[in-house]
C-alpha cells in the first residue's frame, strides 16, 4: 500500500542506487539534462574530505541498512515531488570503504525552473543527512571512530518542516 503510493509519485526516470562502485557525474548529468522541458539541472556531490570534527581523515567506511536505505531515499524523493515541480531526480550513495577525495554521494535534480531544482536538491541532501540509515566510521591519524551526528544537520531539516 505504502509502496504503491510512493511509486505513484516517482517519475519513471528517477533513479536511486546504493552501491560500492564509484559513479560518474557526467553520466548522471547526461541523464538529467536529457529532458527538453527542463532548463535547470542542480547537482550535489559529497566527497571524503581530509579534516572532519578536528581529525585528519585517511579513509572511511560506510555501513547501511539494506532495503531501508533505498526505501528512505524513495520517501524523500516523494516528499520533494509534493513540494516542487521536478523533472528527474537521481540519487546515488556509496557504501563500504572509501579513501580520501573519493565520491560518497550524488544528488541531481532537473526542473523547469532553477529555484525548484536548487531547493529540491538541498532538501534531499538535508533529509538524507538525518533520515537515511547510513553510518560513517572514519579512519584518522588519531585512530578509528564513528562519526557523530551534527546538531546543525538536525536544524537544517527543521527549516523545511516549520
Amino acid at each position: 500500500m505504502i509502496k504503491s503510493e510512493l511509486s505513484a509519485n516517482l517519475s519513471p526516470n528517477d533513479y536511486i542506487s546504493v552501491q560500492h562502485d564509484d559513479f560518474d557525474l557526467a553520466h548522471e548529468y547526461r541523464n538529467l539534462a536529457n529532458n527538453s522541458q527542463c532548463g535547470a539541472v542542480v547537482t550535489f556531490c559529497g566527497l571524503v574530505r581530509d579534516m572532519n570534527q578536528g581529525n585528519q581523515v585517511v579513509a572511511l567506511e560506510l555501513e547501511h541498512y539494506p532495503g531501508m536505505t533505498e526505501k528512505s531515499l524513495m520517501d524523500i524523493i516523494n516528499l520533494a515531488r509534493q513540494r516542487w515541480q521536478l523533472g528527474d531526480v537521481r540519487i546515488i550513495h556509496r557504501v563500504g570503504k572509501l579513501s580520501l577525495n573519493e565520491q560518497i554521494v550524488f544528488v541531481g535534480v532537473s526542473s523547469q525552473h532553477r529555484t525548484d531544482a536548487f531547493d529540491a536538491c538541498q532538501f534531499i541532501m538535508d533529509f538524507l543527512k538525518t533520515k537515511v540509515p547510513l553510518w560513517k566510521k572514519e579512519q584518522s591519524t588519531e585512530g578509528e571512530y564513528w562519526v557523530n551526528a551534527r546538531q546543525t544537520d538536525q536544524q537544517q531539516v527543521k527549516k523545511w518542516i516549520s
Binding site: I2, G46, L62, E63, H64, Y65, G67, M68, K71, S72, H93, I104, V105, M125, L128, K129, T130, K131, V132, P133, L134, W135, K136, W146, V147, N148, A149
Partner: protein, 80 residues
C-alpha cells in the same frame, strides 16, 4: 520477530541480528525485554539518541508490534 542493530550500537552490543520468539506489544516493551539480558544492554539501549525503525520506517517507542515485524535499532545517521 527479527531485530537488527547497526553502526556503533551493533559494535557495542556485538550483535548484528537476532530472532525473537516473543512478541512484545510495542517498541518500549521490546526495549525492556532486550535490556533484561544484562546491564550492558540496558545501558546501551537506554540512550536517548537511539533511533528505531519498524518494518524499515522510522518509528518511536509507542509503535505497536506484530509477530513478523522487522525492528531495527541504531544511532543517529551520519551518511551523505
Amino acid at each position: 520477530m527479527k531485530i537488527l542493530f547497526f553502526g556503533q550500537l551493533r559494535e557495542l552490543l556485538n550483535v548484528t541480528e537476532l530472532q525473537l520468539d516473543a512478541t512484545p506489544s510495542d517498541v518500549s516493551a521490546l526495549l525492556e525485554h532486550l535490556s533484561a539480558q544484562n546491564d550492558q544492554w540496558r545501558q546501551y539501549l537506554s540512550s536517548d539518541s537511539i533511533l528505531v525503525a519498524v518494518n524499515q520506517t522510522l518509528s518511536d517507542k509507542h509503535c505497536k508490534l506484530n509477530e513478523h515485524d522487522e525492528v531495527a535499532f541504531f544511532p543517529p545517521v551520519t551518511g551523505g
